[in-house]
């Protein structure tokens, strides 16, 4: 009880907002059609991944361009264990998260040791993700580029995280994972290590001079970020019932993970969630626009590329006009 009180005290208003948001999100299935529910599941997944990325890329200031590595590890390990061992993905998430965390630690350690920052760090993470991509394409135990198919089971199973098509339970599972991640991130950033992480990002030399061990806290951020991302990967494999090297480790995956965080506002708890929301809406809106365009654009109806063009254009506009992210901007405006 004291522990709960302690947590509540520390998180304060954050916890209140958290409870309200999660409660409201939990009600969403009542209002959404099956198709929209599917979109909502993907949105929450991106929110989870962006929140996870934010720990490393936002708060710790280590811009990772290869988070697909952790995502893919989580997806593959969970899928492999389900297929070959009948292991519940809830359990299978754990070794995935652990291995991802280890990789995060390795990359973090190497980068620190060799003094890689900024663009160089980003490129190293990208290179690792690409190498995993190329490796899995050629590994036959993992079925190479064919990918892994998770066997269908009839009926509903919370243990195996497999439900009938369109079931709201998928939504609840990802909401649970998202809530868990948000709690972890909030607890982390409002705790001592969290303040140290912030301090190290702001000015590493000064923080180090004050006795904060840069390596230790950077590694902490890396490990947590990687582990949470892997959880998302494991869920994704279960949702799609399929995983292959492109879906797991592709460069687009890395970009899709970090985009919501930046658009929503890095270094905020809710920014990545808002970003995921916006990006999903944007994606759906551009598709709808292209398939049923307003009269003045009818000449372009159904032509390939228009929707992604719009998407790119809006991206550019957001970066130019709202560089601290949408949520970041709202928050900044709220401050005097």
């Amino acid at each position: 009880m004291n522990a709960v009180k302690g947590i509540a005290a520390r998180l304060g208003r954050d916890l209140l907002v958290f409870v309200v948001v999660i409660a409201l999100l939990a009600l969403a299935p009542l209002f959404l059609t099956r198709f929209e529910l599917g979109i909502a599941v993907q949105m929450l997944l991106f929110a989870l991944l962006a929140v996870a990325w934010n720990v490393m890329g936002g708060y710790a200031g280590q811009f990772s361009f290869g988070h697909a590595a952790y995502f893919g590890i989580g997806a593959y390990i969970s899928a492999y264990l389900v297929i070959h061992g009948g292991v519940s993905p809830w359990v299978g998430m754990l070794p995935g998260a652990a291995l991802a965390a280890l990789l995060g630690l390795l990359i973090g350690y190497l980068s620190f040791h060799y003094g890689l920052k900024g663009v160089f760090f980003a490129l190293v993470t990208f290179a690792f993700a690409e190498m995993l991509h190329l490796l899995t394409t050629n590994l036959s135990p993992l079925n190479g580029s064919t990918g892994l198919n998770i066997p269908l089971i009839s009926g509903s199973s919370w243990v195996m995280i497999q439900f009938p098509l369109g079931s709201a339970n998928y939504y609840y599972v990802i909401l649970l994972l998202l809530a868990f991640s948000l709690l972890v991130v909030m607890l982390l950033m409002r705790s001592r290590p969290g303040y140290f992480i912030n301090a190290l990002r702001e000015d590493e030399e000064a923080a180090a001079a004050l006795g904060i061990d840069p390596l230790r806290y950077k590694l902490l951020a890396s490990a947590i970020s990687a582990a949470l991302t892997a959880l998302g990967g494991a869920f994704y494999a279960q949702y799609l019932l399929y995983i292959n090297p492109d879906l797991a480790f592709g460069a687009t995956v890395s970009i899709q993970i970090l985009l919501p965080a930046i658009l929503g506002g890095v270094r905020t708890i809710w920014g990545p969630v808002v970003g995921a929301f916006i990006i999903t809406l944007l994606g759906q809106a551009t598709v709808a626009l292209v398939h049923t365009p307003p009269p003045f654009l009818s000449a372009l109806a159904g032509r390939s590329g228009l929707d992604v063009m719009l998407y790119g254009l809006v991206l550019i506009l957001i970066i130019v006009l709202v560089p601290q992210g949408i949520f970041g901007a709202i928050r900044a405006r709220a401050r005097p």
């Binding site: 290179a127 590329g305 992604v308 991206l315 560089p323």
Partner: protein, 332 residues
Amino acid sequence: MSARGGVWQRSFAVSRKTWLLVGSGCIVLLLLIWAGSGTAWGRASYPVLLQALITGLLLGGVYSLVSMGLTLIFGVLDIINFAHGALMALAMYAAYLLVTFAAFNPYLSLLITVPLLFLLGFVLQRFVINRIMGQPAENQLLLTFGLALLVENALLLIFTGTPKALPAPFAQSSLHLLGAVVDIPRLIAFAGSLLLAGVLYFLLSRTTIGTAVRAVAENAQGAAMVGIDVRTIYALAFGLGTACVGAAGALVAPFLSLDPTVGEQFTIIAFVVVVLGGMGNVAGAFLGGLIIGLLQEIGGAFFPNINKLLIVFLVFVLLLLLRPQGLLGRKA
């Protein structure tokens, strides 16, 4: 930034020591080949190895072409231009249009693609990218990423995704050199790469504008204080970088199939080359491109069952860890 050396180093300098190393490396390689031809294995593998060498150099020439512009942009503006490959695709399609509808010789299309891409880059930087100068790297990366999406999908919209090729005659001629094959269009691209490196050197070291560019790259504030219009120089430098990629596009169009995403593979490799050569170092990018091309092909000859790119990325990671300033940069 540990990779930034002095401006002179960044724009061009390749130390005498490096030339010596490269030269002696080549001599050693040739000696090995000659000696190797004495053995049975050598004789059997000789055609393959020689081809690997030649293809590696020619491919490397293409990589150099694409990377020199990228490194210039990074050197002066500190921006990793994610849209580099997309702009190259744009240049290729421009060349395609000129060849198909205006009966241009593809190499003459250089006269159009280079100024066109220069103008495009200049305008882009001046009115869009300039607004985010000085912001964190992630924002810049995402901006250029959005730009890449925009350009690629505009191409998709206009030209559709069906692969296109320039009319056949241009791709077909080849030389036969000591048992290996040298495609003439690729040779021309290689020569173009050399020429471009030379032109850039001349521009950057012998002209007033070039000096201004170097000054801004070294110290923007200082340059402003001596009266250099930094904003224009930024736009100019970016335009120069995109002009390079405009040349690259026109030079490779004769032998590469066009589709809107054709530039993507080159963006990634250009990143590797730019790091290898030292960010901002144009000569480094030229040499780095050749090295990556050679690595890819010779690695492919010796290890035919390993993905060629895997070798490149492994080397890339090692490079980043052990010598992030690249082969030719200086440690700050």
